[in-house]
């Protein structure tokens, strides 16, 4: 196949598909309406996992799910129209810290877990619940 024909076909095809997905609601941004909503999203993916608690970040774009029986933590983020879910390891939470008296920020460390995403919480109980899962103390 001639390269030019191939290139035109590919560009046209990509444009057509992406436009169709966009105009049929594929880019519609979503937010978690509540911790319960975030829990429902998590459990639609992880039916077999028992959850201890769910913490909704300010703005409803993210949530942290504390898994029961020391099962770790899951990060839920709304990326556009769909939820992203990632099970976090201790390393991911290495940069967690308090920046003010009221708010905690968690920065997953490897740059791939929704790179640069800051999770802001006004609920300080999240700190005590994630502390056992990470090596570092929240002294800073």
């Amino acid at each position: 196949m001639e390269l030019l024909v191939l290139a035109i076909g590919v560009v046209f095809g990509v444009a057509l598909i992406v436009s169709l997905v966009h105009f049929t609601g594929g880019s519609k941004p979503r937010r978690f309406a509540s911790a319960k909503d975030a829990l429902a999203v998590f459990q639609s993916h992880y039916r077999d996992v028992e959850v201890e608690s769910v913490h909704l970040a300010i703005g409803g774009g993210d949530a942290l799910v504390i898994i029961a029986d020391d099962g770790g933590i899951a990060h839920l983020a709304m990326l556009g129209a769909n939820p992203f879910i990632r099970l976090l390891s201790a390393d991911d939470l290495a940069d967690a810290r308090i920046v003010t008296e009221e708010i905690a920020i968690v920065l997953p460390a490897d740059g791939l877990s929704v790179a640069g995403r800051k999770l802001l919480f006004d609920d300080r109980t999240v700190l005590s619940e994630i502390t056992p899962h990470i090596a570092r103390n929240f002294d800073n």
């Binding site: 196949m1 076909g9 095809g13 990509v14 598909i17 997905v21 039916r47 990326l79 990632r86």
Partner: protein, 319 residues
Amino acid sequence: MNLDQLVPNYPDVTQIAIPFFVLAIVVEIFLLRRLRKEQLAGFETRDTLTSLMMGVGNVVAGLLFGFIAFGVLMWAWQFRVYDFGFSWWAILLCFVVDDLRYYWYHRIAHRSRWVWAEHINHHSSQHYNLSTALRQSWTGTFTGMFILRIPLVLVGFHPVLIAFVGGLNLIYQFWIHTEAIGKMWRPFELIFNTPSHHRVHHATNPRYLDSNYAGTLIIWDRMFGSFVEERDEDMPRYGLVKNIGTFNPVKVAFHEWWAMFADAARPGLTLRQRFGYLFMPPGWSHDGSREDTARIKADYVRRHPDQAGMPGLPKEVKE
């Protein structure tokens, strides 16, 4: 007599299939919108664009680096013990043998981090639709796995024929990347790879990890013990055990290569441990601090003892 008279000028079937791919995705978008099932992952704009860009990058990588594998295979052709030619039965036989080759390539791709580093991008979407099929590798040539085709050349299949049937195999695998088709006619499901079987392959549920490696024929998984049936009560969740939160195609293509070499270059490791990070299964670590597939499955059985011994899960786990 020139080369064209000896070797058929087979078309590049994957490039010819591009209009069909586009049309099929358009149909699937409308079909899923009509189904409107909440539990289906459906389409998301940036995810779809990333998948398509990975497909475009794969075509470009093929144009740039395809000559390396083809050159090696053409070099090996002089050592063939037989010449099957290009008859219809030779094409059919080559397709089946190459499908077996694909099964082992794919199994190695999931069981050795060196090859997983290039294959991981195909599994990096949390969606499962026809665009996911096009989320292909840019770096396949550099794993050297094309050497698995050398035995086919040595027994007498021409490299052009092998490339042709390989293209047909990839086209077959396109349509099975969909949630729009449920389970199919039982005899078909017994022999061929289907959307149901391949959903299992893309799933991260513990029981489904490292299963259903087939390209076209699912018989290889049934023969080699890696087959797991899709279960209604355990709907597949797609993506990676540790999902990546990026739509950047360059990051998708290279993140695991970067992570792998970073692990292998860590200070204080023995040479054996460095090689372990390059070639052992994904999730392997020198100090056992990470979870590989075996541990994920064992943990699942520990939490769900009633599931022990079910397909895809170990019979017993050590405490």
